[in-house]
């Protein structure tokens, strides 16, 4: 086994896993409260990344003498700008998500369960098409604004592994957001109202909780996290695409199911685990377990690489749904799905 490569894959997995976790939380919050798989959620993430792209290009770039765009904001001002754009994108996606719930799901609250699901797929199509109109069909370069300095040598850990300031940025933004969400749900009155509504909507109404407003709040939080993920993902991978909401959304959904859909801690855990699986697979099994190539019967595993990542993840989704639908931390069996 090549331990260096394995550790490297784990380090990368943490960063991309944090992004998956942020998106997975949106799926799980919504499922927890209205038992809807919000198919449009991944596309809200895509729209968030597009808005971030527009804002960054507008505000972080100027033009040089030949009229070509060049980066115009640096250092601490750049970080303030990114932070401001993070807030704007989070707010925008939060409100977008609330609007989607209000227009497409709430009117169907008493309809059979399939109706809002179909409606969600419809919203997904609309967002995808809006995204395509907005930024076109080919993938778009996202401003590569974050410095990429390996921090491990600075910590005296040598330079065989890489964990850069970019990774630090991803972790530094997403972990506080997740902790903030957890504290909100656990401790605040509104957070408790969310949990109560998720556990028994009718009883929550009998407590004096405005359940419609509470459901809106849930979409607000989920949308904000998806927006944050959109900006982070763009800055991290430096490429965005109008169809990425579908792919990344499905991966994050798998993460939510792995953790136990409806379970907030589970979504975070699932996000990081799927991030690990994805990055190990992206690096390729052959790079981590070179011996596989010569092991009779298992040599096919050595062929697992980036091209197969999505297959591995969705294969896992099927396995979880068949063998453990309640996921790793699911407290209740998904009895009505």
């Amino acid at each position: 086994m090549n331990a260096t490569n394995l550790i490297q894959a784990i380090l990368w997995g943490i960063s991309i896993g944090a992004v998956f976790a942020l998106i997975a939380l949106g799926y799980t919050l919504v499922y927890g409260i209205i038992e809807l798989i919000n198919f449009a959620h991944g596309d809200v993430f895509m729209i968030g990344s597009f808005l971030a792209l527009t804002l960054l290009v507008d505000f972080a770039y100027g033009t040089n003498a030949r009229g070509r765009p060049v980066q115009a904001v640096f250092g601490p001002r750049l970080f303030l700008l990114i932070f401001a754009i993070l807030l704007v994108v989070m707010l925008f996606c939060a409100l977008l998500n609330v609007l989607i719930e209000r227009l497409a799901y709430r009117p169907l609250r008493r309809a059979p369960r399939l109706a809002p699901l179909i409606s969600a797929i419809g919203v997904s199509f609309i967002l995808v098409n809006l995204g395509q109109l907005w930024k076109g069909s080919p993938p778009r370069d996202f401003p590569n604004l974050l410095p990429e300095v390996n921090v491990l040598p600075l910590l005296g850990l040598g330079d065989r592994l890489s964990f850069t300031t970019k990774d630090l940025f991803v972790i530094g933004v997403s972990i506080p957001l997740m902790l903030g969400l957890a504290a909100f749900i656990q401790r605040t009155k509104l957070g408790k109202a969310m949990r109560a509504t998720a556990q028994d909507r009718e009883a929550a109404a009998l407590m004096g909780i405005n359940t419609d407003l509470t459901i809106s709040l849930t979409f607000l939080l989920g949308g904000a996290l998806a927006g944050a993920a959109g900006l982070i993902y763009g800055l991290y991978t430096t490429q965005v695409w109008y169809l990425m909401g579908f792919r990344t959304g499905l991966i994050a959904f798998t993460a939510a199911v792995l953790g136990g859909i409806g379970n907030v801690r589970g979504a975070a855990l699932g996000g990081f685990l799927i991030g690990l699986i994805a990055s190990i697979n992206d690096l390729g099994f052959a790079a981590i377990f070179p011996a596989l190539q010569n092991t009779p019967g298992l040599s096919f595993l050595a062929g697992l690489n980036q091209q197969w990542t999505i297959v591995v993840i969705f294969g896992l989704l099927v396995l979880i749904l068949v063998f453990r639908p309640s996921g790793l931390l699911g407290e209740r069996v998904v009895d009505k799905a």
Partner: protein, 237 residues
Amino acid sequence: MALLQLDNVHAYYGNIHALKGVSLEVAEGEVVSLIGSNGAGKSTTLKTISGLLAPREGEVRLQGKRISGLPAHKIVARGVSQSPEGRKIFPRMSVRENLEMGAFARKSGAEIKGDTERVLDLFPRLRERLDQKAGTMSGGEQQMLAIGRALMARPNILLLDEPSMGLSPVLVDQIFDIIREINARGTTILLVEQNALKALEVATRGYVLQTGQIVLQDSAANLQRNEMVRKAYLGEE
């Protein structure tokens, strides 16, 4: 003027006509029992009062003011709280959090704290279990929590839906003692029960509901003596 008044209330589940012109009154300070067999519409009546169901015809009035048509959370704020059928506690929240939710519509922290103490004095079993997940408690404890939670709203009128369901005889007696106690402390109660015998013992007056209609109303004492009630609901041959 009656504290709570239902005037010719009709309620539906889709096409099912569940309440067919129910009229009843509860005066300040009373315990009124609503009895009737399975499917008579007792729970539907309470749901309609609480605003979980809007009457298609007729009105619900609280202190003379119409409350039917308001959403459930606003009706709680007006002083009507309910301990629903099947308890419906929040199973994955602690006992403490369940009680907090009961006081959701209220503002004053100091008052809520005082009321929490009063509820815990009424149900000492809950005090020992404040940090336990409500779903892990026994049926009787959950029933106490459901009643305590409804009291946390400091209601003018408390609606109780089958508080004795599924409890052992000893616990049933205990629950009815507590109902008396709550009433003695000044809370008006509308009590729905299958256990008509016990319900009429604590009540001042009673109504008999049959397939969505009130068929009989009288003082509790008279109902206990009534031939039809004895046959149908008190289990006499």
